[in-house]
Every structure is written in C-alpha cells, then in structure tokens.
C-alpha cells in the first residue's frame, strides 16, 4: 500500500540531493548537474500535483472516451519548463567551457583571480 504523501517526500528528497550538490561540490560540472536535478524535482512536483485517483493520461483515444483523466494544465506548464531548463543548461555549459578555457580547471576554489 503506497501512501498518498510518499511521492511528495521522495520528490523533496530528490530536490535536497540537487541542493546538496550545488552547495557542497567543487567541480563546476557537478554543480550544473545539481541544478538540473533540483529543476527536475520541481517538474516532478508539478506533475504530481495534477494526479487524480484512477486518472488516465489526458489523451482522447477510442477506448477512453468519457473516462477520468488527470489535469493536463500542469503538464503543459512542465513542457514549457523543460524547454526553458534546456536553454539555461546550454547557457551554463557554455559559461563553464569558457571558464575552463581561461583557467584550465573546473574547480571553483581555483577560479578566483581576474585573468584574461
């Protein structure tokens, strides 16, 4: 028997993993991975909010006319959120590559002096 609150706890746990990676890791690539994990935990939370008991995917097909369906609005929102996340991830990766270009390292404790 799965409790109704369990997915939310796991979602919060996933978000914590992302925040932990951002706060404690020194490698820039791992920090970017942490940001991505936190972002997807938020997406998962929004998808969980639209769940209904015995709900089907909100797509009409011949066998499922008139059945209970989950709310499609958060799904459309999350699709937009995924696209924006893709763009920001590409931006972060480009900045990280430029930093590696200048300093020769991904370690944030060694990226301190002004150079270039």
């Amino acid at each position: 028997m799965i409790h109704a609150w369990l997915p939310y706890v796991l979602c919060a746990l996933l978000f914590s993993v992302g925040v932990y990676a951002v706060l404690s890791k020194k490698n820039l690539i791992k920090i970017i991975m942490g940001i991505i994990i936190a972002e997807y935990a938020v997406n998962l939370f929004l998808i969980l909010l639209c769940w209904r008991k015995d709900g089907e995917a909100p797509i009409l097909h011949p066998g499922a006319v008139g059945q209970v369906m989950v709310d499609p609005l958060p799904q459309a929102l999350v699709l937009t959120s995924i696209v924006i996340g893709l763009a920001t991830t590409a931006f972060l990766v480009a900045i990280a590559m430029r930093l590696h270009d200048r300093y020769g390292t991904y370690d944030i404790t060694r990226i301190r002096e002004l150079r270039g």
């Binding site: 995917a57 797509i59 009409l60 097909h61 011949p62 699709l79 696209v83 893709l86 590409a90 990766v93 480009a94 590559m97 430029r98 590696h100 270009d101």
Partner: protein
C-alpha cells in the same frame, strides 16, 4: 570553422552500431511528430529525437565530416524556416476568421489525417526544435574546438 576532430570520430564498433541505429532513431522521431495529434508526443518531443539522431552521427563520425554535410548556417536557416512556417499557419487562420483558426477540414476523428492544422503546426515545431537543438550542439562543438586550439 574550427571543429575538434583529431582522427574523425570513435572506434569501428561505435561507427558500425551508429550506422545501423541512426536511421531507426530518425524514423522514430518522424513517427512521433506525425502522430503528435493522436498519441503522446508531438512537435517538441519528435524534434528532440530527430536532433539526437544527428548528434549521434556527429559524435560517432567526428565533427568535421558532419559539419561538411550540415553547415551551421543551414541549421540557422532551418530554424528560421520552422518559426516562419508556424507563424504562417497561424496567420492563414485569418481566412477562416481568426488567429490559429483551422482552415483545413477536420477529418475523421482518431485517424492519421485529422485535427485540421495541428499536424502541420507539429511539423513546423519539429523543424524549429530539431534545428535549434542541433545548432546549440554544433555551437558547443565549435567552442570546444577553439578551446583545444588555444592550448
């Protein structure tokens, strides 16, 4: 264009497997796009899958060969064409009385040819997203190539 390609891609195993699978990945993307109004998926998801098939080619066969086939300017042009197509489909709705209004017949429900202009919009979004994602990938490859060159 300074693209990182030391010996032209990965090992023979990777190249052979890529040659076998890349067409299937591309066809799956096309299927997702064309059935976007009937089943999960659509222009965005199918466009991402099609862009991934091109990325697979670039990674397996090295940047230089792939960029010879697909120029970066061509990718930018494709992206713009996708956006213009989408806007054009939306503007053609004015012939039926409004923005985004369907000007095609509705067709038979749950059949492949149905949904008015939505399949056409899906194809336009697919071109836009696929070209955009592949453009980002090519730009990062160029960035990496210039980084290797400075060392």
């Amino acid at each position: 264009m300074a693209i990182h390609s030391d010996e032209g891609g990965m090992t023979l195993v990777v190249k052979t497997v890529t040659r076998l699978t890349v067409g299937l990945i591309f066809l799956y993307g096309v299927y997702i796009v064309l059935n976007g109004h009937l089943s999960p998926g659509g222009g965005f998801a199918g466009g991402v899958i099609i862009a991934l098939s091109f990325m697979n080619l670039v990674l397996a066969f090295g940047g230089k060969k792939a960029v010879e086939i697909v120029k970066k300017n061509a990718v930018t042009a494709m992206e713009s064409i996708g956006a213009i197509l989408f806007l054009g489909i939306a503007l053609l709705g004015f012939t039926e009385g409004g923005f985004f209004r369907s000007f095609l017949s509705q067709g038979e429900t749950f059949k492949l040819i149905s949904g008015g202009t939505i399949p056409l919009s899906n194809i336009a979004i697919c071109i836009k997203v696929g070209a955009g994602l592949f453009g980002i990938f090519l730009t990062l490859m160029v960035l990496m190539g210039s980084e290797r060159k400075e060392k």
